[in-house]
Amino acid sequence: MSAGLGVSAVVVVVVAAILIGAFGLRLSRTTSDFYVASRSVSPLWNASAIGGEYLSAASFLGIAGLILAYGADMLWLPVGWTGGYLVLLVLVSAPLRRSGAYTLPDFAEARLESMAVRRMASVLVVLIGWLYLMPQFQSAGLVLRTITGGPAWVGGLLVAVVVAVNVLSGGMRSITFVQAFQYWLKLTALALPVVFLLFAWHGHGKPGLGRDAPPVFTDPVTVTVSTEVSVRVERPVEVTVSGQVDGRAARGERITLRPGPHTIAADTTVGFPAGAPVPHIESLPVLTDHEWALPLHGREHPLYATYSLILATFLGTMGLPHVLVRFYTNPDGRAARRTTLVVLTLLGAFYLLPAIYGALGRLYTPELLMTGRTDAVVLTLPGRLVGGTAGELLGALVTAGAFAAFLSTSSGLAVSVAGVIGQDILRGGVRSFRAATLLAVTVPLALAMAARSLAVADVVGLAFAVAASSFCPLLVLGIWWRRLSAAGAMAGLLTGGGLASVAVIAVITGGPYTGWTGALLAQPAAWTVPISFTVMIVVSLLTPGGVPLGVARTMVRLHAPETLNVNRGDWRPRSS
């Protein structure tokens, strides 16, 4: 793809986001406007906005990349990210909207009548938000590096600045319009190229992925490595190298790579002959195409990993701060349910697409398995398969979609994290919200630059695991179980959220881990979620005195339909 077109795509998306944001600016004046757009957003806008907010870099780029690398097991990721809304719909959506809370800490306070639980929830919201923002900024860096070759931090910084400006100038009402626009942009940006890609694939005689051998370069190809990688070569292969391989400098000379590990330095180009097997970066498994296409093959302990992933994604969705804040913009509980139904439809339509990119990527861009940058498959495919001006335009469209993904998710997260910091850590009010926005954006940006680079969908998966083991039990038990006590909620949040966070920190800062340690740490939900639920229930039963006095009234508030004229208590969120 030409850098010019890619950069203009990025500029268009950024300018459009700022303009649409400014369009909503004059409507946004009071504190409650900033937080939840005064609850006057129509259901269709709202559903599109939830979709736009939810489909992050992990969905747009990450899933296809993981499918390319690990195969059928990764199909569970989009399934879980959609199914999570079904669980959210049946267990949480209407009661949560009826609670009248703006944020998760608000809900904790309203239900448990305890400031301690509220503070605990605030800390977790900020942690989850930062963990989710970090890979968005990292991916923005990856995209800009893919199209311009510039340093990785530029993209992250760009997204961070745009988000901060947008949130600061308009608050959430403008964000709602931005988000709704972004969903349709993302869907188009992924769906339109697929049509061309499938035509091209059809034109090539529909090659399949059934061979019982690892992927090969079908044509002679020159691979450029931009950061140093360590790859494993399976069969001896004669390559043309410009740069440095195994510490030996070469300028266009032919070198035979023997089986075993080889280190390729940054900015080295390696030319492979047609039919050569693709050397894999050491962190990725070598799978034959046949194994790749079948489930339960991708990673170590695949059955455990699959179940843990299912648990984290299905239960984690309801605990994501930026998703919940969207539900408060529905006029009532019934609208919240219907909005969720529309969201499921929109997400289902979107998630049909990444698998196609993953499979075509395995066929046409196998060199990503060598450079390790499988997240770039969505960006690389249109140029590779379609070619010409059409290919470049499609590439620019996909880049625009990717940037829309970073901007929308980061904006939503920044709003909710800033809302919580502003209300619970600073003094509240519009000025605190502005200071909090800066804090909400700069910390994950710093993390993105410091942390080890991991697959974007993996890091986002970890954020889901933390949410599933902290907020899921709080919401489910809080809504449906009267005997939940403040002490029980505290203990559950602390144990579940704490254990999951420890696993996350271990994965991000240390590793890579292997064997059971690796599986348990990379997918912690299967053990942290049950622990969290158990602790919350057992401690609540042990402290019956800690059950809030107003629980009966709160239950009326959560469950009685709005058409009924009943007393719902007088609790109000603090910001209004």
């Binding site: 199909l75 199914g83 019934r334 009234r553 009924l564 004229n565």
Partner: protein
């Protein structure tokens, strides 16, 4: 979703009968009614509204105050035992419905990896030229989610309508 606005008792009875075998059916109607007759009401009733009195010559009990129906929403507001029964019945019905959906979901979704493990032949099966796991996980599962969600929303709203009919009946 279904235009179900007929407030008459006949329509309600018919609906309750239709819902009987569904997990979220409005069983509270029976429970709450049973409770209402055996003294869940503990306060004295407020005075009957003033009306032009009609002279009935055949009955000796003309001056006895008629007991008015006490609206159930007030029972809920004042957190009487009857009000609690109403609320618990609503919460339980909605929770049973939610639990039913979650159980079906976990059997279908949670069962798939085990199924693929137990019957390896299934992994190799091809449907429309694609491996079965791909057809299911990258395609069919999404419309299934939407259908499940739609059915849930319909039943949940129906439950709420029944509840509203019940407590607002005078």
């Amino acid at each position: 979703m279904t235009p179900d606005k007929d407030p008459s008792g006949a329509a309600r009875g018919e609906r309750a009968g239709r819902d009987k075998d569904l997990p979220g059916s409005a069983w509270w109607e029976r429970a709450a009614r049973g409770e209402a007759t055996d003294g869940g009401r503990r306060r004295t009733a407020p005075k009957a509204p003033e009306r032009p009195r009609r002279q009935v010559v055949t009955s000796p009990r003309t001056t006895a105050a008629r007991r008015p129906r006490y609206p159930a929403t007030m029972e809920i507001d004042e957190q009487t035992r009857l009000g609690e029964v109403y609320m618990r019945s609503l919460v339980r019905t909605q929770f049973r419905l939610a639990l039913f959906v979650c159980t079906v979901l976990s059997c279908l979704i949670g069962g798939l990896p085990l199924l693929f493990l137990a019957v390896p032949g299934l992994r190799e099966t091809r449907l429309l030229g694609l491996p079965l796991p791909w057809v299911v996980l990258a395609g069919l599962v999404y419309p299934a989610f939407v259908a499940g969600a739609w059915l849930y929303v319909r039943q949940a709203e129906r439950n709420e309508r029944h509840f509203a009919d019940l407590v607002e009946r005078r």
